[in-house]
Amino acid sequence: MVIEFKSKPSILANGAVAGPLEKKSVFYSYFDSVIEDERWNEKTNEQGHATMILEACDIVMKKANIKNLDVDFFLSGDLVNQMTPSNFAARELAISFIGLFSACATSVSSVIIASLLTELGASQLAIAGAASQHNAIERQFRYPIEYGGKKPATAQWTVTAAGYALVGKHNPEYPSVVAATVGKVVDVGDTNPFHMGGAMAPAAYDTINAHLTKRNQKFQDYDLIMTGDLGKVGLKILKAMFAQNGVKPEELQLLRDAGAEFYGEDQAFLAGASGAGCSAAVYFSYIIQQLKSGRFKRVLLCATGALLSPLSFQQGESIPCTAHAIELTME
């Protein structure tokens, strides 16, 4: 289902915050702030997670020098049960809040809804984005942090990061959202929670294809197509799928993945990064800056998310996945 925005809402400000481990990231220099303590000096991981979201939103508001009263909507989501970090952050921000869950694709789905609200005229300024905190999510989805389980080469490292953007009326100096695709839920029957890339690749393939065909574009029309957190293995699978479908190798060069590149070649992170914060932090720092600096004119950001829960996994369910995409352009 592809949406075309006539009023082309713009991203007026962006903020990305990351944890201590993310200093090893390739995109480290683009982040607005990196903190030493992974719990943001709070008692629990979840409280740290909420404080991280708050800090990212404060940076966004400071950059646009506005107060929280000026903001009409706060759209956020994360992977912790019932999104408590987003809820507690919204409590502090005191902005009308809609909690969103599309796993690691929340970073894009929140911008889509913010853009819709802006196009509708209901919102002048809306903060949208997503976040994830490694400890809070690993202990919920997989094993306790200190457990000595062996992760296979296809496993990805959940990132401690948050990325938020201020979506407002169209403004030529800023990147604007011209179109978006809300992905369908695609389930190829994968059940291995340590091989998310393989489960999410078909969803990304489906969404990107839908977007390109409806907008009758080809890969070359974009400077870059970046998926969320497929990881090194997932990206290879996606490229193989497109290659099988006749996309030429030099076109495939345009296809990149935030998770695969996040930690560069550091083997300790196995197949790369994942988590809602991974796509959010990279999109709302590196990509926006590249667009503003004019290096990219038109990009397609396709965040991927695996919609599993520890319960569904234990009940033997497979992992349904989804991917949402937004097309950003810079005049």
Binding site: L21, K24, E38, H134, N135, E138, R139, P144, I145, E146, G149, K150, W157, T160, D266, A268, F269
Partner: protein, 122 residues
């Protein structure tokens, strides 16, 4: 001679862990499933009277792996069943292996107050 004793412990202990790794990799099972299978295997071997000779042979090599947990549970139950019949099967269960679980619980409890999980990669 002592060196060979240690070598036997090394080889037998390594083999049991090797089997565990194969169960995990080839059988595509989680660590939880693998340990449960090994405990049951230890209990069965112990019932057949095969595990005690293995402990005699390998010493630490057979008492350290989790299969020895199944073995001590079974030996406790059998020993008590021999003395008291049907009831003994239940009463004797933790007769021999009490230290494994109690140590884990006590140290777990203490550790919970001392340590905090840290999400470092390497």
């Amino acid at each position: 001679m002592i060196f060979i004793d240690f070598l036997l412990a090394f080889i037998v202990g390594g083999l049991i862990c090797l089997i565990g790794q194969l169960i995990m990799d080839v059988g595509k099972l989680t660590p939880g499933h693998t340990l449960s299978i090994l405990v049951v295997a230890g209990a069965i071997l112990s019932g057949l009277g095969l595990y005690q000779p293995l402990i005699d042979l390998a010493g630490g090599g057979a008492t350290i792996p989790i299969t020895s947990f199944g073995h001590s549970l079974t030996q406790g139950a059998i020993a008590e069943a021999e003395k008291h019949g049907w009831v003994g099967v239940l009463t004797g269960m933790f007769e021999i292996t009490s230290s494994g679980i109690s140590a884990a619980i006590v140290f777990g409890f203490i550790a919970a107050f001392i340590f905090k999980p840290k999400g470092k990669a390497n």
